[in-house]
């Protein structure tokens, strides 16, 4: 899959990653999980954060998804901890 996706991080995950947003080239990867794996291989901080304890939730285009979700050019992928609203 060619093209790019925008990746967002929220809350504790945003703080640990050290940024709230980045644009990532898809480089042939097909899913959220594959994209994240490829990013972790190239970014030690990201790898450490995602190896750490705590559940990570994913949304694609503002809809809750999972790591098997397919990605397309222009998608917005968000990673965040369990939600604590109210």
């Amino acid at each position: 899959m060619s093209g790019t996706v925008t990746v967002l991080y929220f809350a504790a995950l945003r703080e640990r990653v050290g940024r709230s947003r980045e644009v990532v080239s898809l480089d042939g990867v097909m899913t959220v999980g594959a994209m994240l794996m490829s990013r972790r291989d190239n970014d030690a901080v990201l790898d450490a954060v995602f190896s750490g304890p705590g559940t990570v939730r994913v949304a694609v285009n503002k809809i809750l998804a999972d790591f098997e979700a397919p990605l397309h050019d222009g998608d917005e992928v968000a990673f965040f901890p369990p939600m604590t609203g109210g």
Binding site: F10, A12, A59, K62, P81, M83, T84, G85, G86
Partner: protein, 157 residues
């Protein structure tokens, strides 16, 4: 009585905002929508003090938060015989005692109004992209972890 009002007939108001809201105005607005309302249930969540807490900072995912709250309100209207419901969720830095969230559910009968109020606040706690960080008087800040009881309350519906 579920299904008395279709989604099209029932009013639905969702706001995500930094600024305060006025509960009286919101109630009057909802009540003005139908003469069939007999009961209005509400829940107001406020920043609870104690243990040196000074403020909560709420972060949200703009766009997704409104979308998830609107879905939740629609589900309440499908599940309960409501005339309308309102959800207002604030974000930003809120001091002890300040309102954080307001849920209103109006129905012909009190059981639907109160059930829907509880459904909305239980589901909202774990089902909308908001995250809370606590700020203490000694300067410490700490992200609030999700609570098992909240997950269970949400799953119970």
């Amino acid at each position: 009585m579920a299904g008395l009002h279709s989604e099209a007939e029932a009013s639905l108001r969702v706001l995500v905002q930094e600024s305060p809201f006025d509960v009286g105005t919101e109630m009057a607005c909802l009540l003005a929508g139908s003469i069939h309302i007999g009961g209005l249930g509400s829940f107001l969540g406020v920043v609870r003090g104690g243990n040196g807490l000074v403020a909560l900072s709420l972060e949200h995912y703009p766009g997704m938060s409104e979308q998830m709250l609107t879905k939740l309100a629609s589900e309440a209207i499908r599940r309960f015989a409501l005339c309308g419901c309102t959800i207002i969720h604030r974000f930003g830095r809120l001091l002890v005692g300040e309102p954080v969230v307001l849920v209103l559910a109006a129905a012909p009968h009190r059981a639907d109004a109160l059930d829907a109020t509880r459904f909305l606040i239980d589901r909202l706690k774990t089902g909308a992209p908001f995250w809370k960080s606590e700020e203490f008087s000694d300067g410490r800040c700490r992200w609030i972890e999700s609570r098992v009881e909240d997950e269970e309350a949400a799953a119970g519906w």
